[in-house]
């Protein structure tokens, strides 16, 4: 097995994961789009996490039960205390993608952020996220824009840094593949809008902070199994709502 180290950018220029992975496995489970998020070297000074990726689907044998997330075809183990991640999965693009969603979500949560079910669109000097559940019209909306303006039509990262809220081109998409120019920068979120479940494609008018929190909590990508991370996610949602109201 020929291992190599690649750097996965999770928060542009701020947080990366150094991944130790079998080279052939890596090329088999990533496509050209996903590879854009992996770099040969760490770019500048960054907060770094470590991820040992095993080809076989087996438990690491070290982490406790509440540090394991089992997905179909893979196991995710993490020790928050040691900032250590060990993930295993079968050689399958979709399973690897699911593992990446969990990894991104955990690391965003540790850094005041989360993944939001939303379509992200670049507008003027920032971006607007249109959040909604599956079938609410995120992809339909994203298709109306040049794909260079689309951050994602499925899951956008959201992070709070110094009282500003940012997103950036997402690793995850559904029907519209983002065609962003790879400048790897944070983009300020000007607004988070919510798509109506009744009137597909239309947005709901949200005037109260409580309603905004309700909708955010309904639409974030929840982390399963870990109470500490779940508690953190609720707290982050409140902090982010405070920036808009």
């Amino acid at each position: 097995m020929r291992r190599f180290e690649v750097c996965l950018s999770l928060i542009p220029k701020k947080t990366s994961v150094l991944v130790s992975i079998d080279k052939k496995f890596f090329y088999d489970v990533t496509d050209e789009y996903l590879k854009k998020f992996f770099f040969k070297k760490i770019q500048g000074k960054q907060k770094l996490y470590f991820w040992v990726f095993n080809k076989e689907t087996e438990e690491c044998g070290i982490c406790s039960d509440n540090e394991k997330i089992v997905i179909q075809g893979g196991i995710v183990c993490f020790s928050l205390e040691n900032q250590k991640f060990c993930f295993s999965c079968i050689k399958n693009y979709f399973v690897f993608n699911s593992v990446l969603r969990i990894l991104s979500s955990i690391i965003l949560c540790l850094n005041n952020g989360f993944l939001l079910h939303s379509a992200g669109i670049i507008e003027d000097n920032g971006c607007v996220l249109y959040s909604g559940k599956s079938g609410s019209g995120k992809s339909t909306l994203a298709k109306k824009f040049d794909n260079k303006k689309v951050l994602s039509d499925e899951l956008c990262p959201v992070v709070l840094i110094n009282k500003n809220i940012y997103s950036w081109p997402s690793m995850f998409y559904s029907e519209v593949r983002p065609g962003f120019v790879n400048d790897n920068n944070l983009i300020k979120i000007k607004e988070i809008k919510f798509l109506s479940e009744i009137d597909k494609g239309k947005t709901i008018s949200v005037k109260k902070k409580e309603d905004f929190i309700d909708l955010l909590l309904t639409n974030i990508f929840w982390l399963p199994k870990n109470k500490f991370l779940t508690q953190r996610q609720i707290n982050i949602v409140e902090k982010i709502a405070e920036q808009f109201f």
Partner: protein
């Protein structure tokens, strides 16, 4: 009969509601004031009588009405695995 909270719950009071998430299933629940009193009572190991007393003292409601509400909420919480019977 006494009850206890599901150990996997994460919760926070935001505005006038208590938001509760079961970290095992990722289910989100939003509690109004009465459900919050029941939840907090169970957290403090109160029995139903003590929870009912608290509701009667805080809101001007008859004991029978409060008891019926509390029993209904507890039934729902048990069904949703938010609480479990304390053995």
């Amino acid at each position: 009969m006494k009850y206890k909270l599901n150990p996997h719950l994460a919760y926070r009071k935001i505005g006038e509601f208590l938001y509760v998430v079961d970290s095992k299933t990722s289910m989100l629940y939003k509690f109004n004031e009465t459900a919050e009193i029941v939840f907090e009572g169970i957290k403090k190991c109160f029995d139903i009588d003590k929870i009912v007393k608290k509701i009667v003292s805080e809101y001007e409601v008859e004991e029978s009405v409060a008891r019926s509400d509390v029993e209904e909420i507890i039934k729902e919480m048990l069904e949703k695995n938010i609480i479990e019977v304390k053995k």
